[in-house]
């Protein structure tokens, strides 16, 4: 590369006097500030999205510093028009750093190797920043005494570092948010490049082409600043108690994940689906009472439950050979398959070779299914609207009856028998209306409250005996016994049967939960 252009003579001095020299020193200040900001953004993002902030910050700082070292080492191979290199790299730092946060947010849900992209960004920024300081010193080598040069450059470098580390947590994250901060500092880098481009007459030959790139980038970044809301909906921060670390609208629903020091929460259309702190209670109660009676279970069907947490519990039984998981939303299942932080929650259950994920509508799918299952787990969202209400209808349960083994068991998540008392018993009665024997039970999940399930069988008599897998945190035979008791405030009450052409359950649910709606 370097031989294309004439090497600058040994005695080369930057033109334009004191003001120009000062401008170059100032640009080091900006680069240092921006560089550290990008590093902090990466660290923060990584701890939002991947958790474990200590590991994230120390690996990112390590990679960043190491990459700066590589940049510094590599700088000796850059020759020719040094000012051109300097400006070129300045622009690149702006582009790479500026789009780092938006790109990282965007790829979070899709890329299995999110970490790799993260470290690539950090490394690239580090290399570029690492190149800049040696280049600058070489540019100014004949303008200053060596001792002054070293002193000036490093003073501004470190002051920039301090400034960045103070304004980042105090001003930038709370007021601008990560994406805007990233774009803003990208703009700052590029503005410096533009300034240098027009300040030095040595830059005349490449001024025009670089200006075009700079202006283009500025326009895109400004657009990014304006639309940052859309990239990551910060307004959601107001709706949710905790920090929103992920949000996405799929064709079917809005998925939001929030995080605080203790737990991670998943919301679908604003409704809490689980909290990582106590979901084990919900999922253990969903699976183990039925499974303890099913040593013969080979084929299991899970409807809903795209988070893979119910499947995690099922995989504790070696006798199960295949688990079909039917969840409408590929956005959910792929998130819980590919994202490391979430896959850790479900113990990588959705990647198990026993598990087959089918993204389709459960009702149409089940009408065409002819497999027999020993266990069917029905873990749909609450019947809050007519589309979901159909999945609690007698017509749907007739299909479940058809595909369930004579000695099989099905379990239906059945909303809260305390708040949604009529809804709960309506589900029980609807299941009974198609010929099932029902066994309603409930348990306490702190983040949900009192929660209900209905276990159903055909001819088989369920008993609270059988072996439970080792290592359960909540369910024991004693817990199960307790779950079966309904105190008077949750006791059975008469309801109609939920049918496709009356959808009474949606009406019950609305009136049961109405007083609790915010």
């Amino acid at each position: 590369m370097a031989n294309v252009e004439q090497s600058q003579p040994e005695s080369y001095k930057i033109t334009g006097g004191k003001m120009s020299q000062f401008l170059l020193i100032l640009s080091i200040f900006v680069i240092a500030t921006c560089g550290l900001i990008y590093e902090l953004i990466a660290g923060t993002l990584a701890s939002y999205l991947l958790g474990d902030s200590i590991t994230q910050f120390s690996t990112i700082i390590g990679i960043y510093l190491f990459a700066m070292g590589i940049g510094s080492w590599f700088s000796k191979y850059l020759d020719g028009n040094l000012l051109k290199w300097f400006i070129k790299i300045e622009i690149l730092v702006g582009i790479v750093g500026g789009c780092s946060a938006p790109v990282l947010f965007a790829v979070f849900e899709q890329v299995a190797s999110f970490r790799l992209i993260l470290y690539a960004f950090v490394g690239l920024t580090g290399v570029l920043v690492g190149l800049e300081i040696p280049l600058l010193m070489r540019l100014l080598r004949n303008n200053y005494e060596f001792k002054d040069l070293v002193s000036n450059v490093f003073t501004f470098d470190y002051i920039g570092g301090l400034l960045a580390s103070l304004i980042f947590p105090l001003l930038l994250v709370p007021y601008l948010g990560l994406i805007r901060t990233s774009l803003f500092f990208g703009l700052l880098n590029i503005a410096v490049a533009l300034l240098l481009l027009y300040r030095f007459k040595e830059a005349r030959s490449f001024r025009r082409s670089y200006t075009a790139i700079i202006v283009g980038t500025i326009l895109v970044f400004i657009a990014g600043l304006i639309y940052a809301e859309k990239i990551m909906t910060y307004s959601e921060g107001a709706t949710f108690q905790d920090k929103v670390i992920y949000s996405k609208s799929t064709t079917y629903q809005r998925i939001v994940i929030t995080k605080n020091n203790r737990e991670l929460r998943l919301f679908l259309n604003g409704n809490l689906q689980f909290s990582s702190a106590d979901e084990y209670r919900y999922h253990e109660a969903l699976i183990h009472p039925a499974m303890q009676n099913l040593p013969q279970a080979r084929n299991v069907l899970v409807l809903g439950g795209g988070d893979g947490l119910a499947v995690r519990e099922l995989l504790k039984y070696p006798q199960i050979q295949t688990i079909k998981l039917v969840d409408l939303d590929p956005g959910m299942t792929s998130l819980f398959q590919k994202n490391e932080m979430l896959a850790q929650l479900n113990n990588h259950s959705l990647q198990s070779p026993k598990v087959k994920v089918i993204n389709t509508d459960a009702f149409s799918w089940i009408r065409n299914d002819t497999t027999k299952y020993q266990l069917v787990i029905i873990d749909f969202p609450d019947p809050a609207n007519y589309s979901v209400g159909k999945l609690y209808s007698n017509a749907f349960y007739k299909e479940i009856y058809r595909i369930l083994d004579e000695n099989g068991i099905a379990v239906v998540q059945s909303t809260s028998p305390y708040i949604g008392r009529r809804s709960f018993w309506c589900i029980d009665h609807t299941l009974a209306s198609v010929g099932f024997k029902t066994l309603p039970y409930h348990t306490y999940v702190p983040s949900f409250g009192e929660w209900g399930y209905v276990m159903v069988t055909k001819n088989f008599s369920w008993k609270n005996e059988g072996t439970l897998p080792a290592g359960l945190r909540y369910v024991t035979n004693a817990t199960i016994k307790e779950m079966m008791f309904f105190p008077p405030d949750m006791a059975e009450e008469p309801t109609e049967i939920n049918k496709l052409n009356n959808q009474v359950l949606v009406h019950y649910f609305e009136s049961d939960w109405g007083p609790y709606a915010h």
């Binding site: 283009g216 149409s364 589309s387 049918k499 496709l500």
Partner: protein
């Protein structure tokens, strides 16, 4: 249902990283007033005027080059034609030929299909029928619509086919209310008139004439001859309502909606008897339904039509065959037919002919055998425009979410039906079937002017109505096909149902030519068509 406008973050980022050119283009586009409908694809489909009109100029068609013989020839493959063929074959008559002018059978029960849903191009539901209608119940049992009978003998309907909840809503005074009877924002005095009307209708529903027959029945011809009720046919529904002191604008809107929905007509052009029949004749019972229960499918009555077709299509059924001349020839009837794709004509010699074609067509086909022209003048047909609209989102005002039937108060159309309602998939992409009767002009004028309009004209009209109830829907409309039914259905004007013309037009000619069509019932519904076919086939065989 929360229908929020969502923004695809990835899409945006593609733009963000795509460079400044995108942005520049964007600003340029924003400066120009854009055509809000430009992205919507679709065309005017169906409505085979051309083949039909060939018959008017029969002399220009080729001379017949061969002759075939059949015991029974059925002309027209709508529901009455299919029903006649079904009955004949059920009774063991094998030598039956059905000829249909269009490239498909099914008539008003025709339907279409795209990757989102099947959708009706006409009739789209069947109320749970009266259990006395045995023939229809048998057919529904064969089609799997009735799955069995309860211990008390009532039919049990397939729950997948009973219209799912939520069934109907009306957009009125800024709210989507449940049900189509206006309630939201209706003043108390007007509600009183609703109650009064409802009582009258319930009395009529239970009323039995001096001859022991129901005052209002389906099929129409099973209704009582008692003059106390038939008198009502002599005046318009509008005059009847004025006479009875109904003044509520909300009630009058609602009753006119009924006339539009069932007859494509308005209060002035519907007889009071027909207007009341809409409310007083549905007497269906079921183990799992009542008289207001309806059965429906994504493809509308296309479901029933397909089952009829399946029973009879084994042999003796041809489409694209234009019958253009009918003449007596000794003991049989000679029917001349033009084979549209082959561009050749042939003659069918038939022992009996069952004309399952509307009377405005028969008038031309029968030539000298036709009744006096004055008789046919009494048969008035409503033109209809039906659009099937594919949408990928449905923004809407507050109130009940999307239902099966969705009516918008005070608009020209009778609303739209969600074709996807009965399929159990959850999808934001849907097909809405939009029904627009052209009930406000003289039918002939309306028909002619409808034919001159282009796709864009209908699209603008439909989009404007939808925008009123669903502000911001236009960008979410992907596709809209429009079908124009020039003679959509018979309109039972004052004096028609119990008048002479209807009776005379249905009389067989020389025990050789028989007639079956809903225009001979005066009411265009599946039950009538089904019955017309059976009645004519029976006559032909006795």
């Amino acid at each position: 249902m929360h229908t929020k406008t969502t923004y695809d973050r990835r899409l945006f980022l593609k733009g963000l990283l795509g460079g400044p050119a995108v942005l520049l283009l964007g600003t340029q586009a924003a400066c120009k007033p854009a055509d809000a409908l430009a992205h919507i694809t679709g065309s005017i489909v169906g409505a085979n005027f051309k083949t039909g009109h060939l018959a008017r100029n029969a002399d220009a068609l080729p001379k017949p080059s061969k002759t075939i013989a059949t015991d029974v020839l059925i002309v027209g493959g709508g529901i009455s034609g299919l029903s006649a063929k079904r009955w004949l074959e059920k009774e063991g008559h094998r030598n039956v030929l059905l000829l249909e002018m269009d490239d498909h059978v099914g008539g008003n029960s025709h339907y279409g299909k795209n990757e989102v849903s099947a959708y009706p191009w006409g009739a789209h539901y069947l109320p749970v029928p009266d259990v006395r209608n045995k023939e229809l119940l048998d057919f529904l049992r064969q089609a799997g619509v009735i799955t069995g009978y309860s211990e008390t003998g009532l039919p049990v309907y397939n729950e997948y086919y009973l219209c799912h909840d939520p069934e109907e809503r009306l957009f009125i005074n800024g709210l989507w209310q449940e049900g189509i009877v206006p309630e939201a924002g209706v003043p108390e005095q007007e509600k009183e008139q609703f109650r009064r009307f409802s009582k009258v209708v319930n009395d009529y529903k239970a009323a039995i004439g001096t001859d022991g027959k129901d005052a209002f029945a389906i099929p129409v011809d099973h209704s009582s001859a008692d003059a106390a009720y038939r008198e009502l046919d002599k005046i318009s529904f509008k005059d009847y309502l004025a006479r009875e002191g109904y003044t509520s604008p909300y009630l009058l809107w609602y009753l006119e909606y009924g006339c539009k929905d069932d007859y494509g007509a308005n209060l002035a052009t519907t007889s009071a008897w027909a207007g009341l029949h809409y409310f007083a004749a549905r007497k269906g019972t079921a183990a799992n339904g009542n008289s207001s229960t309806v059965i429906t499918w994504p493809n509308g009555n296309g479901f029933l039509m397909d089952h009829l077709k399946k029973q009879v299509e084994g042999s003796g059924m041809l489409t694209n065959q234009l019958v253009f001349k009918i003449a007596m020839a000794g003991n049989s009837t000679e029917v001349t037919v033009y084979d549209v794709p082959r561009k050749e004509s042939y003659t069918v010699t038939a022992g009996k002919v069952i004309m399952c074609t509307p009377q405005f067509v028969n008038q031309h086909l029968l030539g000298s055998l036709a009744a006096p022209a004055a008789l046919y003048k009494d048969f008035r047909y409503s033109p209809w425009v039906i659009a099937n609209i594919t949408i990928n989102n449905l923004p809407q005002h507050r109130g009940l979410p999307l239902c099966w039937d969705n009516v918008i108060y005070g608009t020209k159309s009778v609303g739209y039906v969600d074709a996807n309602h009965q399929d159990l998939k959850m999808d934001t992409r849907r097909v809405l079937t939009f029904y627009l009767p052209l009930a406000f002009d003289e039918p002939d004028m309306a028909r002619k002017s409808a034919r001159d309009k282009d796709h864009r004209y209908w699209l603008e009209l439909i989009a404007a109505e939808l925008e009123y109830a669903h502000p911001g829907i236009t960008p979410f409309i992907e596709h809209a096909d429009v079908w124009i039914w020039g003679h959509g259905m018979i309109a039972p004007g004052p004096g028609f149902i119990w008048g002479e013309s209807r009776r005379k037009a249905g009389e067989s000619i020389d025990n050789k030519i028989f007639f079956a069509h809903t225009d001979l019932s005066g009411i265009s519904i599946f039950e009538e068509a089904f019955n017309q076919g059976i009645k004519a086939a029976r006559q032909a065989m006795t």
